[in-house]
């Protein structure tokens, strides 16, 4: 097993790793894919790691994260306790579960499932071998022109991840739950790649979780490419619940053909440093994208959401709402960027970022950008940061509700705007519980992941009963 032990992440180390392991890395590549990998490696080498003097990174400093020592593996680790790791899921929710351990598809015996309705789900590495033409058709399409160092590094190094293909006209009957658990006895650096293709008029509901199993430090560099065909629909959830020593760089590239509809939810509940790089490209008319985000951070946690929406075609609508509560020494960054190109008439784009700071040591940087080259548009953005509404506080307390409960009620209401948009009822219920627990400071690194109700017999205890009557 090639592995390199406990080194910090530097350009030199990565270049060295690539060159000495080039053969292993490319073992599943077609000629075309190998070419893409080499090109990405060159780009990665020329870009180097970011620093805070770069505009896109001025508010997120990776020095400390990159500086830790990490193991790097070119093979999946033994799956000894995999049964334990994936033992439960969302209560009462029937999902198709796909597991990843440290980024590697947990194959058990079936590396690639082919369902009766034509849906293919499983290991990307396996898909490269089994469906090379299908993979080649989409792979790197979204990331080809991107000069982002982490995406380039991912393309150069990725060896596995998840591949989902929903054929034209097929509606996936139940939600797919993709769980990536980071679990290693030492610090680990992992990169994985997902490729998700939803055909014309097809639909998919995807719950995508990133979780830590223990308190060990980790550095994850994830890239997902998501393609929505004409009139396709994707209901997408990204749940992030990693430990405080983790760094997660997560890029998602959504490409929407005409009439496609994307609902995406980024729920960041815990993590040391999280950077979400969300790119939405309208590649046809009449597309719609709703991108919602909720982040609840405390201690020295850092959340950075970069959201870029490219209105490259007419008649598309987009709506971004990102909301955050920052406690203790937490730091939040929101950088939204809506681009309306010259000929994209009848564009309707909205962008909102709202934050609540609970202490004088929490910080937020909010940068909601609009770049508009067409006059036939409706665009608006807003950003607000502040405390809980004092009028509402007074009203609640006048009705006899204690200050503490009133604060909790209002914070929950603040989060509810995002949580309430979760379309899967069981998932919404679960997330509501998580958010309540999180806001009361009870949800530190959960024993396991968000959806792994590892302690089902330990009921959630709230001062306020918010359950619906």
């Amino acid at each position: 097993m090639e592995s390199t032990q406990q080194h910090s992440i530097t350009l030199e180390r990565m270049v060295d790793l690539f060159e000495t392991n080039r053969k292993v890395l490319s073992s599943n590549d077609t000629a075309l894919l190998a070419g893409i990998r080499d090109k990405a490696f060159t780009l990665f080498g020329s870009l180097g790691f970011p620093h805070t003097r770069m505009e896109a990174w001025r508010n997120t400093d990776l020095k400390e994260s990159l500086g830790l020592g990490y193991d790097y593996y070119f093979h999946p680790l033994p799956e000894a306790d995999i049964q334990k790791v994936f033992r439960c899921n969302i209560p009462n929710l029937d999902t198709a579960i796909i597991g990843q351990l440290n980024g590697w598809y947990v194959s058990k015996d079936v590396p690639l499932m082919e369902l009766g309705n034509g849906i293919i789900m499983g290991s990307l590495a396996e898909a490269k071998k089994k469906y090379p033409t299908l993979v080649e058709k989409y792979y790197n399409l979204s990331t080809n022109d991107v000069s982002d160092v982490f995406t380039a590094m991912n393309t150069a190094f990725e060896q596995d991840g998840v591949f989902i293909f929903v054929p034209q006209g097929v509606k996936s009957p139940k939600p797919v739950q993709l769980i990536n658990v980071i679990h290693h006895q030492d610090n680990i650096f992992m990169q994985s790649r997902n490729l998700i293709v939803i055909g014309d008029n097809a639909s998919l509901s995807l719950v995508h979780c990133d979780d830590s199993y223990n308190q060990q430090a980790s550095f994850s560099n994830l890239v997902s490419e998501v393609f929505l065909g004409e009139n396709a629909f994707l209901d997408h959830y990204k749940l992030q619940n990693l430990n405080n020593n983790s760094t997660l760089i997560s890029a998602s590239y959504f490409k929407l053909e005409a009439g496609a509809n994307l609902e995406s939810h980024y729920l960041s509940l815990n993590g040391g440093l999280i950077r979400n790089n969300i790119q939405v490209l309208f590649n046809g008319v009449h597309g719609n994208a709703n991108i919602f985000g909720l982040y609840l951070m405390d201690r020295k946690q850092h959340i950075d959401n970069q959201v870029f929406v490219d209105h490259a075609f007419s008649d598309c609508t987009s709506n971004e709402i990102f909301k955050g509560v920052l406690d203790e020494n937490a730091r939040g960054v929101f950088n939204g960027h809506v681009l309306v190109r010259r000929n994209s008439t009848k564009t309707d784009a909205r962008q909102t970022n709202k934050n609540i700071l609970l202490t004088d040591t929490a910080r937020i940087n909010s940068q909601p950008f609009l770049e508009i080259y067409n006059d036939d548009v409706k665009c608006a953005h807003g950003s607000s940061t502040g405390q809980l509404d004092p009028e509402a506080m007074f009203y609640l307390r006048q009705r006899g509700i204690s200050e503490e409960s009133a604060r909790m009620l209002l914070m929950f209401a603040f989060a509810e705007e995002i949580v309430g948009k979760i379309a899967i009822p069981q998932l919404r219920q679960r997330i509501e519980d998580m958010v309540k627990k999180r806001l009361q400071g009870e949800l530190r690194i959960c024993e396991q992941c968000v959806l792994h109700c590892s302690t089902p017999n330990h009921p959630l205890d709230f001062k306020i009963d918010l359950s619906k009557i």
Partner: protein
Amino acid sequence: MDTDSNKIIDEVTQGDYKYGFVTDIETEFAPRGITEETVRYISTKKNEPGFMLEFRLKAFRHWLTMTQPKWAHLTIDPINFQDIIYFAAPKKKENLEKLDQVDPELLATFNKLGISLEEQKKMTGVAVDAVMDSVSVKTTFSETLSKYGIIFCSFSEAVQKHPDLIKQYMGSVVPYTDNYFAALNSAVFSDGSFCYIPKGVRCPIELSTYFRINAANTGQFERTLIVAEEGAYVSYMEGCTAPQRDENQLHAAIVEIVAMKDAEVKYSTVQNWYPGDKNGKGGIYNFVTKRGICKGNNAKISWTQVETGSSITWKYPGCILLGDNSVGEFYSVAVTNNHQQADTGSKMIHLGKNTRSIIISKGISAGKGQNSYRGLVKVTKNAINSRNYSQCDSLLLGSQCGAHTFPYIQVGNKSSVVEHEATTSKISEDQLFYCQQRGIDTESAIGLIVNGYAKEVLKQLPMEFAVEAQKLLSISLEGSVG
């Protein structure tokens, strides 16, 4: 919108620049280009004390280590800084104590611009410091003002007569290290205005500086410094024009404002430098650093700007709110037509407790104009209970222009409230139709609507300026609105 109104828009936005004439006046130039020698030449020419030369040289040496910033949303042809003449002055007679000793050509120039330098014509009740190319040619009303202890004179005069004040405050708000253009200005600035309002004095009249670029191939680098002592008040206006020339000309200015406890300074600008022609040829490159500091408690600084000129505008008038309860305001209307580009906005830095700031920005883009709002609101950890409200609206006239909004918001404590809102829209066809149905032609209707759109800002201007600004707004959009 139908083609007819597009045509009208084109017509409306292509009004001619009325200040494009050149005055034939004898001018003294520094040699082209910039070296340490140029800096020394300027200092010698102005007979400056040692500290000034020292300041200039430090700034120049620092400038050499810097590169031109590229972060703005602007496409700028490379500037050859060695091809610019850094000092041009109308040759003046030995003694300029009396008005009749001012070159009549100069007087005529300013009269043509609608600015009277003759004290007897004090109808307007505005004291004027007129700056032609690099040099202040005449300051009016100085004597009247001196009765109140107010100093209002050219920067050069202040350097000679009030060196201590200059030494104390120059560079205290905008240090020469601040940015590329501030460093350049600090090295080569030639003149500008200086204003000092003593403790408790309310300046009885509007003060005004009028800037005019005349000579070809020259850059204009002026510097304004306003100091308002405790409890003082002053309203200050600045206007600018330049002749119509094919080549781009560089203007890099600095304005510094210091407001002590309970002082209030209101600074209004109507910027109408030559914007270049319809094809984007020529025009002023306007790189300006304007900043005020509310040093004492309850101080207030208010910036109002109407930006219609220049081919490139790069300016971010800001306030450092150091004193508790201090207030910063920024009201802006920026018009970009034809090939004009503007990247402008404000910086509000909240350091003191209970500090408040407001930003109202109205961008109007027409033709192929690119209009960007860029602003920073920073609330530090100690600036508890602070408040900012920003509203940045963009109006697009025609399908070839662009409107962009780049707010940077940083909040570092729990008790402050910061809100930013922005909308982008075009003139609604309903509004147009409504006006037309009442018998108003499209062009006038657009003028009306645009003026209404900008009203919130225009009403902040002193009366003398508001009328001019309103006219300017319509003229700059003549043939452009869509």
